[in-house]
Amino acid sequence: MTPGRPPVLSVRGLSVRFLLPGGHRVAAVTDAHFDVAPGECLALIGESGCGKSVLASALLGLLPANAQTAGSALLGDLDLLTAGERTLARTVRGRRIGLIPQSPAAHLTPVRTIRSQTEEVVARLTGVRGRAALRAAAERAAERAGFPTDHLDRHPHELSGGLAQRAATALALIGDAPLLLADEPTTGLDRDLVDRTVDELRRHVDADRALLMITHDLAAAERVADRVAVMYAGRIVELSEADAFFGSPGPRHPYSRGLLEALPERSFLPIPGLPPELGSLPDGCAFAPRCAHATDICTTLPPLTGPVACHRPLPAPARTPEAIRA
């Protein structure tokens, strides 16, 4: 990571609200701030339903019609939140942002073979022309994502979850986009495949691309990420260097600490209670009802000052974390 280089993606005050019938509003994402630099991987982690995937959809202009957005998400000088569908479709998706989707089985076209879909993407996004050249380029694209070329003539339903994921990854990498957006890329994969998938993603990061990886798989995040953003009830509650987060001094927000401690290789204890409803969030800290450290002050909303949005963060490290950027 080179400081001083402009970030590939710069998100400022991003909020997403869903308007429901009856005047209900669901606060799916609230006031998110973060940057992703070239050659850097930011992992966005949190429980299911915390708003992670909505944030990804907002960046790609794929939100449903009842969504309202605020803030900005700058990709270079283009604001992704206000860009029109035409711009997003013709210049952004696949070309400037490569999406590795959450559910490859639903992402791939069920009625066509992987080869046919890969060749189509190659033809669309690159200058390759001619049947033989397309065929060869599609095979190279498959190999790059570790997809076995002898499975190219299969349909998506004939692939295991791991192979379908690799097929989707292969498609995302074809456009050589400077920003990769991976939404739960390792769901349903076994540990070896998770390691291979994230190592492959890391190679693209090391080739100076930026990667925003949305995941609930903490082991995968630890393996690939430079920095970690923890999301709870639609807000980013902690933004930290990955080394400090997974190693010493560890997470400072009680929620992040609870999430990490729930791992089977740690204490394997669940965080008590359930996440709050995004439609009826408390006024104060959304985690307070589940938090062992909460006091009266937690009925007011803690701002994200420094690395952590908490009134009573866990003990600060002895050394100054100059590496931590707010």
Partner: protein, 225 residues
């Protein structure tokens, strides 16, 4: 005991996905079955749950050989096994509220009168709040829906539980909560467990013993080679 003896199963007789798999779970035991993506372990789990007829080999449940699978299995055998699948969205009827989802096995077996008490009890076990119980699957998260699916699997008090990648879609905290719900149930009832998955760390922490797919099917692999 739940015994799988040289089970061969698949979807095309010429190319079975499981060959000669042998695995035994004794009463009250928790066995983890570890294997990579696409190895056939989910198919074997479906055989153990009496949801898929094997091409060859036999399944012996509590000392009696199984002859009928799926809807043809006698009710007392079918309901002796509770199943939790990997993807809660695909295993939950989208039209049912969570409370009806959990209660459906009771209604299907004529135990309508025990619905209110049993659903409330299980909702607490798996950590579902009353307001969630009135929602339909599209109104809850994957983690919340999987909690309901675990409650549904426990509602008939099965002697055996088959958890096929129960937590693969879930975050660490929900994983720990659901494993605890299953373990609390097993402590109370002495039910046996076959947990199928690919996460070695999780299965080692969760189960009494963990067997690898290769050792379950190894003899067949050798004869083929």
């Amino acid at each position: 005991m739940l015994e799988l003896r040289t089970v061969t199963a698949g979807y095309d007789r010429r190319t079975p996905v499981v060959r000669d798999a042998t695995l035994t779970v004794t009463a009250g035991e928790a066995v983890g079955l570890l294997g990579p993506s696409g190895c056939g372990k989910s198919t074997l789990a479906r055989v153990a749950a009496l949801l898929h007829r094997p091409d060859a080999g036999e399944v012996v449940l509590d000392g009696i050989r199984v002859h009928h699978y799926r809807h043809r299995a006698p009710r007392d055998r079918r309901t002796a096994v509770g199943v939790v699948f990997q993807q809660p969205r695909l295993s939950a009827d989208p039209r049912l509220r969570l409370t009806d989802l959990i209660a459906e096995p009771l209604r299907a077996t004529g135990r309508r009168s025990s619905v209110p008490g049993r659903v409330a009890e299980l909702a607490e076990t798996v950590g579902l709040t009353p307001d969630l119980l009135t929602r339909r699957p599209h109104e809850v998260s994957d983690g919340q829906l999987q909690r309901a699916c675990v409650a549904r699997a426990l509602v008939l008090r099965p002697r055996w539980l088959i958890c096929d990648e129960m937590t693969a879609m879930l975050d660490a905290s929900t994983t720990a909560a659901l494993v605890r719900a299953v373990e609390d149930y097993r402590t109370d009832t002495g039910a046996g467990l076959l947990a199928v998955g690919h996460d070695r760390t999780l299965l080692n922490r969760w189960c009494d013993r963990t067997v690898h797919w290769d050792t379950v099917t190894a003899p067949a692999a050798k004869t083929l080679a």
